[in-house]
């Protein structure tokens, strides 16, 4: 009798199964065993040691299986792992020519030259690197050739490919954190901005000079810095980290949201004439509900309420709440963090984050990975620690339940995590999560028992639109379930998730209708697609 009652409780929403997940860290058995260095492990002298690094799921050789890219700090090149199938990955960094080393920060992907192979952009404190994908066999550093070499050392962080003028060629946005120099930055304890709860810690970002964000226009064959003329260089009083793109005001143009540390976050609204203006404050995405600028790190966006509108989620520092900005239409947002169930977790410093439907019930759930900025915090012996567990929120029709404690051992592992990327690397319909942990091997979170719910994954290919279909918006209808999504480069914390779109379908065994709004204005409708498969849709 008791067993019957439990079984009944597990099937409640639209006939969809909503059981408890069990995430396990399978990084070691997958072959991801190398430590990714990132500054000091026990103490950090400079802020540069705290911010790296991102990760990416990309299918660089078009074999239909997601490969893995891990951005590294000094001491190792950023590493690429080829997906061999069967849950195994093999390191291919050197043979692909991915040689650049340094203070690696972020990564974003997109086919900037429309040759059918996804290219890779890696940000650094120093000089960024654009790797052109040469037919899936190797990568060529084309930074200088494409005029992306910078005139000075910059602290580049988040990035995203974006076709802001809908000309079919991917442009590039690069966030800049601040002006940093090892010789001039004060040491821990040097001034009041170099303390945390009485501990001398690395200085900043407050007290360190601002830098400005960058926008490069793809001219075909090379890029041109249009930061000034586009308005992206203004304002220049923000410490920019995570980046996400999306059509946030529903005008068909891709906008840019930037999570900013200790300063108001930015929402660059695309006016369609090559100009952007930051409208975050009045649109309600700059501050929290108390009018305070928080320490924004990572960012994600999703139509978590099935309203057809992308809302924005941002991770922040400890003693702050993560912020969920609900899109109320017309590009206006309101802080819905507390009322949606995210008002309890204040002891974590959040970084990577992403909406993903882990149980395929048709409602986008949310994972946040955590870890304090200061290893020294462990000396305080309090409930805020350098290495922390993740937080998993289950989306219960727009309300989020914290299910971290009952979602398997991988969620409860303590790491100082930064980047996180989301993708179904074995194409079994359950999305996995790749996490970069400071000075540890990465984590690869996989569900050991798969939901019985149905799903579909869409790979979009632009023809008039950019080949990666970045900026394409999709509406998926399966029975009474109507979801929307958008193909995005960048996102999370300095990371790149699968460019394919994954939708949980609950009990539905087919998708009734898919409507695609391609960047540039093309519209396309597909009907009656069978569930539980990866479907490629080419622009007509």
């Amino acid at each position: 009798m008791r067993r019957l009652a439990v079984t009944f409780l597990c099937f409640v929403l639209n006939g969809a199964e909503t059981g408890t997940p069990e995430f396990r860290n399978v990084a070691s058995e997958a072959g991801l065993t190398e430590t990714i260095p990132n500054g000091g492990a026990a103490s950090k002298q400079f802020i540069i040691e705290t911010t790296g690094s991102g990760v990416a799921f990309i299918d660089y050789d078009n074999d239909g299986l997601l490969d893995i890219f891990l951005v590294s700090g000094p001491g190792s090149a950023s590493r690429m792992y080829h997906n061999q199938g069967g849950g195994r990955f093999r390191e291919v960094t050197r043979e692909l020519g991915l040689t650049h080393t340094g203070w690696g920060q972020g990564v974003c992907a997109g086919d900037y030259d429309n040759d059918g192979y996804t290219d890779l952009f890696v940000t650094y404190w120093g000089q960024n690197t654009l790797y052109r994908n040469m037919g899936g066999r190797r990568f060529e550093d084309v930074t200088e050739k494409t005029r992306l070499k910078q005139d000075r050392v910059r602290y580049n962080t988040g990035c995203a490919f974006i076709d802001y003028d809908n000309d079919g060629k991917l442009d590039l946005f690069v966030a800049n954190y601040l002006k940093f120099d090892f010789n001039t930055t004060p040491k821990p304890g040097a001034n009041p901005y170099c303390f945390y709860r009485g501990l001398a810690v690395n200085c900043g970002p407050r007290g360190l000079p601002f830098d400005r964000n960058l926008l490069y226009h793809n001219e075909g064959g090379g890029f041109r810095d249009v930061s000034e003329q586009s308005g992206i260089s203004k304002p220049a009083a923000n410490y920019s980290l995570g980046v996400i793109t999306g059509d946030f005001n529903g005008d068909g143009l891709t906008d840019i949201y930037v999570a900013c540390d200790q300063t108001p976050s930015l929402l660059y609204i695309n006016h369609g004439n090559g100009k952007f203006t930051d409208e975050a404050l009045l649109r309600g995405t700059a501050l929290d509900e108390n009018g305070k600028a928080l320490s924004g790190m990572g960012v994600a966006a999703a139509d978590y309420l099935h309203q057809g509108l992308p809302s924005i989620f941002r991770t922040n520092f400890s003693d702050e709440l993560s912020t969920l900005y609900r899109n109320r239409g017309g590009g206006e947002f309101e802080d819905a963090s507390v009322e949606s169930g995210m008002g309890r977790n204040t002891r974590f410093v959040g970084w990577g984050c992403g909406f993903f439907d882990y149980d395929n019930d048709g409602w986008a759930d949310l994972l946040v990975v955590n870890g304090h900025a200061f290893p020294e915090v462990d000396r305080l012996h309090m409930d805020i620690r350098y290495r922390e567990r993740a937080i998993l929120y289950r989306n219960r029709q727009g309300n989020f339940d914290d299910v971290s404690e009952s979602s398997g051992p991988a969620i409860l592992e303590n790491h100082s995590s930064r980047g996180a990327a989301f993708g179904d690397y074995d194409n079994d319909g359950a999305v996995e999560v790749l996490i970069n942990n400071q000075n540890e091997p990465p984590s690869l979170l996989r569900q050991s028992k798969k939901s019985a719910n149905h799903w579909i994954t869409l790979k979009l290919e632009g023809i008039r639109a950019n080949r990666s279909a970045i900026g394409a918006r999709v509406k998926v209808t399966a029975g009474s379930l109507v979801q929307t999504g958008e193909v995005r480069s960048g996102g999370s914390y300095l990371s790149q998730s699968d460019l394919r779109l994954h939708f949980g379908l609950g009990a539905a065994t087919k998708v009734d209708r898919i409507e695609i709004a391609w960047p540039g204005g093309g519209r396309q409708v597909e009907t009656a697609l069978a569930a539980d498969r990866v479907v490629t849709i080419r622009e007509k």
Partner: protein, 336 residues
């Protein structure tokens, strides 16, 4: 005249004027030499003041107190008046004449509101008064609940919330009817942790405070906030409304109720509440921010823009010595 010649003239002048020499030695902190020179010109009124200051600085407070009192009460040049007041207050504190010292310090703070020395001596005076009062409390009423309450408050200022909670609990056990203890315990619990169990524990303490004092608007507000976090929206709303009813001058409660009105799309009511909150706390960013959003939601774009400008003004970092210092650090050219 060359700089070297100027210095020579100045030295010659000082050597010929014992008063000037004495004042210079006083300013250098060489009180022995100052005294020797100043005693040579007893008829010079300025030298007499500096001699009194010198004696005060070398521990002869009792002897010079009447002189300093008389001089502080009389009209003098501002610099001398300030120095006399500082010396007088210091001497009165050394002589345990605290009431008189308090009056002089109040006068100094009023006359020189931004003077670091005046503020320092005031801080010293109040710190001493605080220490003395604590000592008397522990000596004369060691078993009072107030001893535990005070210990808890000290632990709180040190960030030792577990210890503070333990002391508040002892205070409550000693005097279960005392108001404010449950409130402070609840607050310490929240300072320690925001996990669900801690929140629930804090809510119980705030509720206990309300059962002792049903008119405590701040406790009502705290209960409401926790209930909101626990997604008990209806219950939370009732407590927010009650907090605002109890204290119509409580800006945070007005803001919370305004948010409820906004959620119900009663934007005009929200705006009215927030305008009141801004009037009560014109420098509160939270009030301006929420008013800006309420105007926006009500479609009153011009007013929303006006509030945006106000908010941006408030959010500018304070300009001052420290900010300038940091700017200088930040703008230093990177090494080549």
């Amino acid at each position: 005249m060359t700089p070297a010649t100027s210095l020579g003239v100045l030295l010659a002048f000082l050597q010929s004027d014992p008063s000037a020499l004495g004042i210079a030695e006083f300013n250098r902190g060489d009180y022995k030499a100052a005294r020797q020179h100043l005693q040579q010109t007893p008829s010079d009124p300025q030298a007499a003041v500096f001699l009194a200051l010198t004696r005060a600085a070398t521990g002869e407070c009792d002897a010079v107190l009447p002189d300093l009192e008389r001089r502080f009460a009389s009209t003098q040049p501002k610099t001398l008046h300030r120095l006399t007041g500082l010396a007088l207050a210091q001497c009165q504190m050394s002589s345990k004449r605290f009431a008189a010292a308090g009056a002089v310090i109040a006068q100094l703070e009023s006359d020189y509101p931004a003077d670091a020395d005046a503020l320092y001596i005031s801080a010293n005076f109040h710190m001493k008064a605080w220490n003395d009062a604590i000592y008397r409390l522990y000596q004369k009423a060691p078993s009072s609940y107030r001893v535990h309450q005070l210990s808890a408050e000290v632990f709180e200022t040190q960030g030792k919330y577990a210890e503070a909670m333990a002391e508040y609990r002892k205070a409550i056990a000693s005097n279960p009817k005392a108001i404010n203890l449950h409130y402070k315990l609840g607050r310490a619990v929240l300072m320690q942790s925001h996990d669900p169990a801690a929140m629930e524990q804090a809510r119980k303490e705030f509720s206990a405070e309300l059962s002792l004092n049903p008119f405590d608007a701040v406790a009502e507000y705290q209960v409401a906030q926790i209930l909101a976090t626990q997604l008990k929206k209806t219950e939370a709303a009732a407590h927010f409304e009650r907090a605002a009813e109890l204290r119509p001058d409580f800006p945070e409660a007005l803001i919370a109720v305004a948010k409820l009105r906004s959620e119900a799309k009663r934007y005009d009511e929200a705006v009215a509440l927030l305008e009141r909150a801004v009037k009560l706390q014109p420098r509160a960013e939270v009030a301006h921010y929420n008013l800006m959003m309420a105007y926006r939601n009500a479609g009153r774009s011009a007013e929303a823009q006006r509030e945006k400008v106000e908010l941006e003004k408030l959010q500018r970092p304070p300009e001052g010595e420290f900010t300038d210092f940091l700017k200088r650090i930040g703008e230093k050219a990177p090494a080549k």
